[in-house]
């Protein structure tokens, strides 16, 4: 992967440097490791301050694993993730806590994200209570403040999650994420479990909050249309690797990788030419195809695609693709 990204940039908030996450496959009586699932297989990118970075891909592409790495839910196998220039895998206890407050997640399922036995106020206050430097009153005031930011009312604080609709629940999740004044929010499929007529509202709200607070988003979704609408820059993932990345406008106007093209066709239902319908199904990260993982499904596959893994190359400023079609 390109090592020249290491050039220090004040604008960069989060930086991935050749990050890998392998899960061992254990089998047999004594749980011997028989191989690895290469969930994330060497990805590098950076998220800048105040931008939305979109990560798009289908099942098993590693986009959710990536978010787990950032959230310290899973340890990184190799490579580095830098936040404000600091490696997140060896932070001191207090740095770790500060990092956790700066990076907050919002998950896909608004029902599962909220403990049915906790009041909204308890749910939102949870990340604040870990700090131990705020009084009860301060915490409560902050809870009411973020509720309002997320488009809810202060009297909602004393209710339980089941008293809200799906869209409102997702707002509660958002309010919780905002409570610690984070610099980065990881949005993992934030709208895909919502009803169609509510989605637009949520997307608008997310964009408004970003404009107001200047936070960065790392947006993870399978729907390219949503990703393009929301993001400043985009990375397309396929079986653990980034196959194309760039400015979202550039990516839309000058789509390079055949896989991205197919995703576009599917997202905007413009697939009237048969070539854009891919044969087969998404490869498994357990036993991915040789060379370019995409080659068995690729309409442009060449003999060398089977043998040589294409590297991510800049094809125009800021626009990179991992494909042998581009020299």
């Amino acid at each position: 992967m390109s090592d020249n990204t290491k050039t220090k940039n004040d604008n960069v908030l989060l930086e991935f440097i050749d990050v890998k996450k392998y899960f061992p496959i254990r089998q047999g009586v004594f749980a011997k490791t028989k191989g690895y699932i290469k969930a994330v297989d060497g990805i590098s990118y950076d998220i800048r301050k105040g931008e939305t970075f979109g990560l798009v891909g289908e099942s098993g592409c590693g986009k959710s694993t990536t978010s787990k790495l950032v959230l310290l839910i899973e340890p990184i196998t190799s490579g580095k993730i830098l936040f404000d220039g600091k490696d997140i895998s060896n932070l001191s206890q207090s740095e770790r806590q500060a990092y956790r407050e700066s990076v907050q997640p919002v998950f896909q399922d608004p029902t599962g994200s909220l403990d049915p036995r906790c009041r909204v106020s308890t749910i939102i206050a949870e990340p604040l209570q870990v700090r131990k430097n705020m009084t009860k009153e301060q915490i409560h005031a902050r809870v009411l403040e973020v509720l309002e930011m997320a488009g809810l009312r202060s009297d909602h604080a004393e209710l339980f999650p089941h008293q809200f609709s799906g869209g409102q629940r997702q707002r509660i999740a958002m309010a919780r994420a905002l409570s610690t004044e984070p610099k980065l929010i990881i949005l993992d499929e934030p709208i895909s479990s919502l009803d169609v007529s509510i989605r637009a509202n949520m997307m608008n709200q997310l964009l408004d909050l970003q404009a107001k607070l200047g936070i960065s988003y790392m947006l993870i979704a399978h729907d390219l249309a949503v990703i393009l609408h929301m993001s400043t820059r985009v990375a397309v993932m396929y079986v653990g690797k980034i196959v194309e990345t760039g400015d979202s406008k550039e990516l839309y106007e000058h789509t390079a990788h055949p896989y991205t093209k197919a995703l576009f066709a599917a997202a905007f239902h413009s697939a009237n030419e048969g070539a854009l319908i891919l044969p087969g199904e998404v490869a498994s990260p357990y036993n991915p195809p040789s060379g370019c993982h995409f080659h068995p499904r690729c309409p442009n596959a060449m003999p060398k695609c089977k043998e040589i893994e294409p590297l991510l190359k800049e094809i125009s400023p800021g626009h990179k693709a991992a494909c042998h079609l581009f020299k």
Partner: protein, 325 residues
């Protein structure tokens, strides 16, 4: 309704399916009328719980308690299905009307081989010799593009991917050359690229077999590629219907328009989307007038009083809204 009622493969008139639960009566489908011509593809579009899936199941008369079809007519080839005995209905299900369900992970029986499951769909309605049956199973597997069908017929469902399982569901649906296929969000749980593949497959099968399809979905995008006509459902009723292209270009009902506007378009980057306030009504407590009125930007006093009548916009388009016509 069209005066050519007799030429319709299916005509549904004022269908009502209610669920009698302890909280009250949920009017999941509350007076739905539409028709489908032979070999036509009709899309039924709506959000979750708008009654679109219940409509599909009602057509097959597979509503389970506490649900019940409480009124209306389902004319299939001119015959009212709601008047048939259960025994006659068995001859229609699988033979003439068939269905593909939403979830590929749970829609096939996990303990039987897929070949047997397809064969059963055939033998339920026809007696065939063992060789002929085998041949037909393989032929069906080919029809849905399963590679090396002779081998895969011996697989159990869990040995296949979601996309393959959904194609098996298609093979089962097509086993007896049915005239009407109800596809209830068959692609919702599939990967994006697999989804496109599946839609293409349905298109090809449709043109090969001439089967009439009712495609139930929440996604206008799929509707635009696959269907000839579309009916938009909201809170248990059809609010607007018409030829797909026409309807999507010039939506008449405010709900349809709002839905279409709320989806990001190519190149719409970072602009505000048109959003609909509030959420769908509780099926337990439907608003008295137009069900969309509480969320509608153009609401008029009469919208809140009485449900707007269906207004004909032109020969094959109509909508239920006081603003139309």
């Amino acid at each position: 309704m069209s005066e050519l009622a007799n030429s319709h493969l299916l005509q549904v008139i004022d269908l009502k399916t209610h669920f009698f639960v302890s909280r009250g009566t949920l009017k999941a489908v509350d007076g739905v009328s539409f028709y489908l011509n032979k070999g036509e593809v009709l899309g039924i579009v709506g959000e979750s719980a708008c009654g679109k899936s219940v409509t599909g199941l009602s057509l097959m008369r597979l509503i389970e308690p506490p649900g019940k079809i409480v009124g209306g007519q389902i004319l299939f080839n001119g015959e009212d299905l709601l008047k048939l005995g259960e025994k006659d209905m068995l001859k229609i299900r699988g033979r003439q009307i068939t269905m593909i369900q939403q979830n590929p992970d749970t829609s096939l029986n996990p303990v039987f081989r897929i070949g047997n499951q397809i064969a059963e769909a055939i033998t339920t309605h026809r007696k065939l010799s063992k060789e002929a049956l085998n041949e037909k199973v393989i032929e069906l597997l080919r029809l849905v593009r399963i590679p090396s069908p002779e081998v895969r017929a011996l697989d159990y469902p869990h040995q296949m991917s979601g996309g393959m399982r959904q194609r098996i569901a298609g093979a089962i649906a097509l086993a007896c050359d049915a005239n009407l296929l109800i596809a209830d969000e068959p692609t919702t749980n599939l990967d994006v690229t697999t989804q496109a593949q599946y839609i293409k497959l349905l298109e090809q099968i449709q043109s090969e077999t001439g089967v009439g399809i009712i495609f139930i979905t929440h996604d206008f995008g799929i509707v635009s590629t696959l269907t000839d006509r579309v009916a938009v459902m909201y809170a248990g009723r059809i609010v607007e219907t018409g030829p797909t292209k026409d309807l999507m270009e010039k939506p008449a009902h405010p709900y349809t328009r709002a839905l279409l506007d709320s989806v990001p378009k190519p190149g719409s980057s970072s602009t505000r989307l048109h959003s609909i306030q509030g959420g769908p009504p509780n099926p337990n407590k439907m608003p008295p007038g137009c069900r969309f009125a509480p969320r509608c930007e153009k609401v008029k006093p009469e919208c809140l009083k009485e449900y707007p009548p269906e207004v004909k916009i032109n020969n094959n388009r109509s909508a239920s809204c006081y603003y139309v016509g």
